[in-house]
Symmetry: C2
Subunit: 183 residues, 2 copies
DNA sequence: GCATATAGTTTAGATACTATACTATATATT
DNA sequence: AATATATAGTATAGTATCTAAACTATATGC
């Protein structure tokens, strides 16, 4: 039987999924299409691949590959082969894809006031959860142990050694690992 | 672009969905099957119908009807015609269904400590959200404006006029409406 | 050079999804 | 009481998604 917090979490997520489905449906999409568009809008340049989407959504890469094919044909995403690693194909939202996502987002959650306690609670919950499941990937760069501040308009990723544009620290990365357990 | 709390909520729900998918997959189910089993385990006796599931999950009733048919054939749920309203067929988890759900739940979220602030945050968020979307259904009886305490081992539902067993106040109901906005 | 790992595609078969039309029962209106 | 409307569920057709498995191609490690 679900305990107290689990039943609330279940309902919150169920409501979220339901809203997602309805928003997607109004634009002629399935749930998974909206999830992919949303993911591509918040992931960084290390994480915009079919493999990463497959891991993020917990579905087989074959299924994702098939869905991506259709989404490319319909003009919502664009595929660009990676020059550094020729196995990799990077994915990007087209303008059409961004417009669709924006329309669907308007039907999604609207949180009026930025209640700090609510935010803190959710952060804490997510962190505990990921830690308990040894699930390290897919967090924002700024909370990653490889994140290092650098001068000017860049920050450094200690994992890849690259310097990345400052706004990207809010994006999520498949290589993400939290700083430490006590933070 | 998603604001701060929305991106965290998105990640929390995405993680939840991902865990759901994986847990379901290990038992040979799809996401929707787990959602249905879970819903039936927490809904009250007014809400265990195909129509309610359809509303809760945000999917067409035709699709749900089809899925329920297969789940009955596989012995995970049971259908009993309602004697009061002959249009209605009530749904129940079989022992097999309960066992499957329990196995899947073990792979789901494990929250170690009942942090009151986290719980309060989630409750507040859910309430605000439902209110903003004029989404009143599917809450626990105890937070419903029709809920009335009664003596003994029962409480009363002012909407239907019936007396219900006390433990049912924790279950969720499709007719749920919050007491008022300030509470 | 060879084994192994990783990224992605393709195929076949099962399942889910929407939209629509349909039956049956309940409720509201005249 | 008769009729209209609403509600609960089913059935069908066509499309999309899903998994599992086999496949190609490139990268990495020994």
């Amino acid at each position: 039987m679900l305990n107290n917090i689990e039943i609330w979490l279940e309902r919150l997520s169920s409501l979220y999924i339901s809203q997602m489905r309805q928003a997607a449906s109004e634009q002629g999409f399935q749930l998974v299409n909206l999830e992919i568009l949303q993911y591509l809008s918040i992931c960084n340049d290390y994480s915009n691949t079919a493999q990463a989407i497959s891991e993020y959504l917990g579905q087989t890469k074959g299924s994702i590959s098939q869905t991506l094919k259709i989404m490319e044909q319909s003009g919502h995403i664009e595929r660009r082969p990676c020059t550094k690693d020729k196995r990799v194909i990077r994915l990007f939202l087209t303008e059409k894809g961004q417009n669709s996502l924006q329309k669907m987002s308007q039907h999604m959650v609207q949180i009026p006031d930025e209640n700090p306690e609510v935010l803190a609670g959710i952060k804490q919950l997510l962190k505990t959860w990921q830690h308990n499941h040894h699930n390290t990937g897919f967090g924002q760069c700024l909370s990653c142990k490889y994140h290092q501040t650098a001068g000017g308009q860049k920050f450094k990723c200690e994992l890849t050694g690259e310097y990345l544009p400052l706004p990207d620290k809010f994006k999520i990365c498949r290589e993400h690992e939290f700083e430490n357990q006590t933070e």
